[in-house]
Symmetry: C2
Subunit: 364 residues, 2 copies
């Protein structure tokens, strides 16, 4: 082939020059991290992130470059923000951004690589696929998106059927969160290649039945609407569109935060549909327990007969930890079998990726 | 089903309070748009975007709320930025963000809905799917991502084969750009439902053979490396993994900006592989024409025999417009058939979505 000149030169001038010069963050080999920002006119620049407590100032040098170095930091994927003259925003030097479905979710991403591949890294193993569907939700009268993970080998086979995990995101996120931020596909690819889990499909719907940020004046409205979409639209779509088993023994339901409230609320009240239920840092309130789980708790024999796994994980620094502990005590008191995975850490994707990595091998 | 209380209340406190209060932008029914930012400590806040020339200041009121109203604005999807005390960043009140693969690509998104559905809107028609693959690139010795659109009906049929459009993103973007920003799936779903285009697959690889932002000291390195990945890895992957036709009559190649330089550079020099070639605001330089297209231009008879379509689109406000005009003149002089779609507008996704909508009905 003729060696062509490439076109990057011709088009990079379309970016503002300032955006090209500053690189941030810079990760050194000892896992220290330097953050940089060009802001000659700013009066104060603060850094806050999941790798630190509180916030700390960047320091300005003569040319208006603000900088600070922190660490060393343990290899992980972290989110952080700059606050520039009181406005919480992203690091303009970093193209890697976490987004969500409501304001305040926008953060910059810092990924510290370790000496070895992490469980969430792409590794040289067979890879599954992620599919994005637009489906007509009859129950919500709208077109909605659904993300589905298919394990490696799904496409090549024509007769094999697969179990399904229905997996929900948290508040202020959307149906892309578990793949973009949770790396569900890479985690499951790696577990499967290591022989640690079985192959299954993962269906990740948009977890809102009412618009994100709707007033809380309609309690229950979101879960009621979302439940209808899940039970009447999403599950039938998955089971007609994919080679999925369609019985309770091959259905699992789990979610994080708000999605954990949804998975527990729907799963524990539909043992005729699900036999594996997980709540990751679940968004639950003790005041709602009787209404949400009263019927389930009242019949521990059926619960223990039907449920092959009830798994709850929460971090000790999570403001929702007490609610998980209270639910677990209620399960203990009722004699309902469960796993309570108490971890360190807070209400973060760091924990949710790890919980998935613990939970998935227990399924099917 | 028991009416459960939903969990949004329990988790929204995890967001900073300030982020919840300010809504921006606010679109009025007459298509005027108000931008808002809470920034009591800032000295200057500027707005710039694709819907305006230059930039204009937001005005601060007594409570530290900065605001400005512009428009009315024509229904479209626009990108914009706030510049806060000299730092170009996003609108923190808007969760809808455009991201890319290099700094400076991060912008807020303003979508003005029209009175009727746009050609890029989700409409109540059959919808195709988007699939994300991780594939082993033998030529680049790495695991890379590939996005593929399958038209509605692909999944249900078992014998039908489909043509393939290989479609490339621009500089500083990635393999998700055409679906996230270009809405390729919705545009093709709508064209197909209207009977205006044929069903075909769209394969959208990551368009960099060298890391984005690499020094321009290695001219040709990117296109050479990307070409190998495309020809030796991507096309074989698509043709073995999908029910795709594998002959030149059923392959099209197109791209925008840097990707337009790639599609013209590869397509016009591989008429044995492609019969439809498109360049959208292509990132090309007249100084490279002889080296890039000399062999192709020297044999107009073969070009006209083999090419069923050579389509070039560019906007008159685009700084790359002169290069497209020069290429078209060269084609005219050589007597090579082509379509030159001269539009208004600049180097924007507004044009690229429209170009795809013009180009797709001409394929296959």
């Amino acid at each position: 082939m003729t060696p062509f000149r490439h076109a990057i030169v011709a088009v990079t001038f379309l970016l503002p020059a300032s955006a090209q010069r500053i690189v941030s963050p810079v990760i050194s080999s000892d896992h220290r991290v330097t953050f940089n920002l060009s802001a000659p006119s700013a009066s104060q620049v603060m850094l806050s992130g999941e790798f630190m407590k509180g916030s700390q100032p960047l320091v300005k040098n003569g040319e208006g470059l603000w900088t600070t170095t922190i660490g060393p930091i343990e290899p992980e994927i972290y989110y952080y923000n700059f606050t520039i003259d009181g406005v919480r925003t992203i690091d303009p030097g970093n193209p890697n951004v976490k987004t969500g479905s409501t304001p305040g979710t926008i953060q910059s991403v810092l990924e510290i690589p370790g000496d070895h591949s992490a469980f969430y890294d792409p590794q040289p193993v067979p890879h599954g696929e992620i599919r994005t569907h637009w489906y007509a939700s009859k129950s919500l009268h709208t077109t909605r998106r659904l993300t589905v993970y298919t394990p490696p080998g799904y496409e090549g086979s024509t007769n094999t059927r697969y179990p399904v995990l229905y997996l929900f995101h948290g508040a202020n996120a959307d149906e892309t969160a578990w793949t973009r931020l949770g790396r569900v596909n890479l985690i499951l690819d790696n577990l499967l290649a290591a022989g640690k889990s079985k192959p299954f499909l993962v269906a990740m719907p948009f977890g809102y039945g009412v618009p994100p940020g709707s007033p809380s004046s309609a309690p229950g409205a979101n879960l009621t609407a979302f439940s209808r979409d899940l039970l009447e639209d999403v599950i039938p779509f998955v089971e007609s569109h994919y080679r999925a088993y369609a019985d309770r023994g091959h259905r699992a339901i789990a979610g994080l935060s708000m999605g954990g409230g949804e998975s527990l609320g729907i799963g524990l009240n539909h043992l005729e549909l699900f036999s594996y239920v997980g709540g990751f840092s679940p968004g639950i309130r003790t005041a709602d327990f009787q209404q949400s789980y009263g019927k389930f708790m009242a019949d521990p024999r059926t619960a223990n007969e039907k449920l092959r796994l009830l798994w709850i994980g929460c971090g000790s620094d999570d403001s929702l930890f007490a609610a998980s502990e209270a639910l677990v005590k209620m399960l203990d008191d009722a004699g309902i079998k469960h796993v309570f995975h108490k971890s360190g850490g807070a209400h973060t994707w760091i924990n949710w990726r790890r919980y998935l990595n613990e939970f998935a091998p227990l399924l099917f």
